[in-house]
């Protein structure tokens, strides 16, 4: 899909999780927002990342929100399951409402005072890519700004989460939230970068040709593909060495922002990613201005 989606600002927050969930309270106190009551960790992580992308800035009321997450409200859903199956009690209403994925989007919209469309989407490791495709669609509905956020949390009891993921006990986990202020190129601001393309491909030769044609300067292989045959493909451009913070489904957003920090105008990144249960690859092209 040719997206032609402009990026005007970006920023984010992430952290590695070892044995215990790091406390977010100090960081939250520094935020300029009135924190929503009864919000869960996913909302808190979202606001911490959002602040890094906009500082004290305010938002146009018509701003649309696209919130992309691999596991979304996993912790709230786990708590509900434990209440029902372990404790044999009805879940408390607030806990249940927080299992609804767009409860996080609700809290963000209310906190920022925005009232455009609010869409919550998920696609495993390619949730960022799903969000980019939706943002590129929304930009044609009107000229309102679009806030695209990615967020994933480590549920309480990281040890149990490693067991759930069937990964060794010492494997680091990570959580965080990364934000992109997007919109139509007709907007008056100067774009920092353009998301030119994002779409699926299966054939490795076709991917190689495509990236050659598009003259990429760098390529990036997502964490999910690091140990797969894809990492053996000879791709054009310099391969970015990525430093994974730990198991973190939307880490590509972090990698993309790090590349944007370093890239020179005219450089182009080809980002390859995949999802569990599929041999399809998602290719994203980003041009730095």
């Amino acid at each position: 899909m040719d997206l032609n989606l402009s990026l005007f600002a970006y920023g984010g927050f992430s952290q590695t999780v070892d044995r215990q969930l790091p406390d977010l309270n100090q960081a939250l106190k520094a935020l300029p927002y009135k924190l929503p009551r009864r919000s869960d960790r996913l909302t808190q992580l979202s606001l911490l990342g959002l602040h890094q992308s906009c500082g004290e800035g305010s938002f146009d009321a018509a701003t649309h929100l696209v919130l992309a997450s691999g596991d979304a409200n996993l912790n709230s859903t786990i708590l509900n399951s434990e209440q029902i199956f372990d404790s044999g009690t009805l879940p408390n209403p607030i806990g249940f409402i927080n299992t609804v994925n767009n409860s996080t989007a609700y809290h963000i919209c209310v906190t920022l005072g925005i009232q455009g469309e609010a869409i919550s989407v998920s696609r495993d490791h390619c949730s960022l890519e799903a969000g980019l495709q939706i943002a590129a669609t929304l930009q044609h509905s009107d000229l309102s700004p679009i806030l695209l956020g990615t967020v994933d949390e480590v549920p309480n009891d990281p040890e149990q989460h490693r067991q759930r993921l069937n990964i060794p006990a010492a494997t680091p986990l990570a959580e965080g939230s990364f934000w992109f202020h997007c919109g139509h190129p007709q907007r008056q601001e100067t774009a920092l970068a353009t998301i030119e393309y994002c779409g699926p491909m299966r054939d490795s030769r076709r991917i190689e040709e495509f990236l050659h044609e598009r003259q990429i300067s760098h390529h990036l292989i997502g964490d999910f593909l690091q140990n797969s045959a894809v990492s053996e493909i000879q791709l054009p451009g310099e391969r970015l060495v990525t430093q994974s913070l730990g198991h973190y489904l939307t880490q590509n957003a972090d990698y993309l922002q790090r590349w944007l920090d370093q890239a020179r105008p005219g450089e182009r990144l080809g980002m390859l990613n995949g999802t569990a249960g599929s041999d399809r690859l998602t290719v994203t092209l980003i041009l730095k201005h």
Partner: protein, 382 residues
């Protein structure tokens, strides 16, 4: 970008009543006969009403079985070639996806004393999407939309926008919400479950009855003479009033309706009838009736509700209610709203007491959800 009309070229669904509201008895008896889930909690034992598709609640492969049957039928009816299916966009709307699979696995391991038991062993929302892609050889990437009760309605809107932009030629839109204890317990905890019946806009209404369903709609960018129903688009607005209910003054619902009328280039006088969200909760029916009266101040189209037939199927109600409503239009009638007996002076709106002849024209379908999500779809009977 003004919405264009896209033909609905195939659909199928599994619901308590099968595929038609005029089924006098669904797979499990007459309307209002409920599935059997009894919630065995330490603190209490609840026998809750529920509209079920079948009684295989504990079958480990139930989700995929129902899902694949429905999609297979919808694809057959669309007569799309395998090549076209492989390039179709895939859009899924649900609030629970395959949550039941996790519940079954966890409960079985707990009961067996298995040390590896963890709640929510299957994480993420992409498993069903990838299963559909593998089963039906779809090359595209799934969009898994979760906006509570508007999930599959929003999936339809997104699909339509992406078809209009040329991202796809065809789209398969799936709404799925199957029985799970998390949802049923959650609504029970919120005391939103009605005791016996779901009675939208009735003075004695006392809440929702949940139901389950799986439905699939196929829309196309290519015009066809055979389609009798067109998707005209719609609109969606965020409602900041409360995380659980729309603004009771009706302002945000009216705004959603007005935006959608403008975006689709529809005149108020073109609207033949409105399928309401009609949950029969005290607050929804107040917000919705106020919103409709504000958006249609001069002549309010007839309104009706589908949930008394099949229950509230949450994230799946967008596609399910579109299909059941479309099927009724196809049979020549706008369905009445069962269980309505007493007008509520607070609402100033009454739903249809009797079926009405369905004429060609535009029909509005309302959907509202937790998390401030208000969505309206427009369909046109041609």
């Amino acid at each position: 970008m003004e919405s264009v009309k896209l033909p609905i070229i195939g659909y199928a669904c599994a619901s308590h009543l099968g595929e038609s509201l005029s089924n006098p008895s669904g797979p499990h008896g007459t309307t209002g006969q409920f599935g059997p889930p009894t919630l065995q909690l330490d603190s209490t034992q609840l026998q809750l009403p529920y509209y079920s598709v079948d009684d295989g609640f504990d079958d480990p492969d139930r989700t995929e079985r129902i899902l694949f049957e429905v999609i297979e039928k919808a694809l057959q009816r669309s007569q799309l070639s395998a090549a076209k299916i492989s390039r179709a966009g895939l859009f899924i709307g649900s609030s629970s996806y395959d949550l039941r699979d996790s519940e079954i696995d966890y409960r079985q391991k707990l009961e067996a004393g298995d040390q590896s038991a963890v709640p929510m062993p299957f994480t993420g929302y992409n498993r069903l999407g990838e299963s559909i892609c593998r089963k039906f050889c779809i090359d595209s990437e799934p969009f898994n939309i979760n906006s509570a009760c508007t999930s599959s309605a929003n999936a339809l809107l997104l699909a339509q926008s992406m078809l209009q932009l040329g991202f796809y030629e065809h789209a398969l839109v799936v709404g799925i919400e199957l029985y799970n204890e998390t949802t049923l317990n959650g609504f029970a905890g919120m005391q939103l479950i009605a005791e016996q019946r779901i009675a939208p806009f009735d003075k004695t209404r006392d809440g929702i009855i949940l139901g389950e369903s799986c439905s699939a709609v196929i829309i196309s960018k290519q015009s066809t003479d055979s389609a009798s129903l067109m998707l005209r688009g719609g609109g969606s607005c965020f409602d900041p009033y409360s995380i659980t209910t729309s603004n009771p003054d009706g302002s945000t619902i009216a705004q959603t309706l007005e935006n959608a009328l403008r975006k689709t280039g529809t005149e108020r006088s073109d609207v033949v009838a409105i399928k309401t969200h009609g949950t029969a909760t005290y607050m929804n029916d107040i917000s919705e009736s106020q919103g409709i009266l504000t958006a249609f101040p001069e002549q309010t189209p007839p309104i009706t509700a589908i949930k008394p037939y099949v229950g509230h199927t949450l994230g799946a109600c967008g596609t399910l209610e579109l299909i059941l409503f479309a099927e009724a239009l196809e049979q020549g009638y706008i369905p009445k709203t069962p269980n309505f007996e007493t007008s509520d002076p607070e609402l100033s709106l009454t739903p249809l007491h009797e079926d009405l002849d369905a004429t060609d024209g535009v029909y509005l379908l309302n959907y509202f959800g937790f998390g401030g999500s208000n969505t309206v779809l427009f369909v046109e009977k041609v």
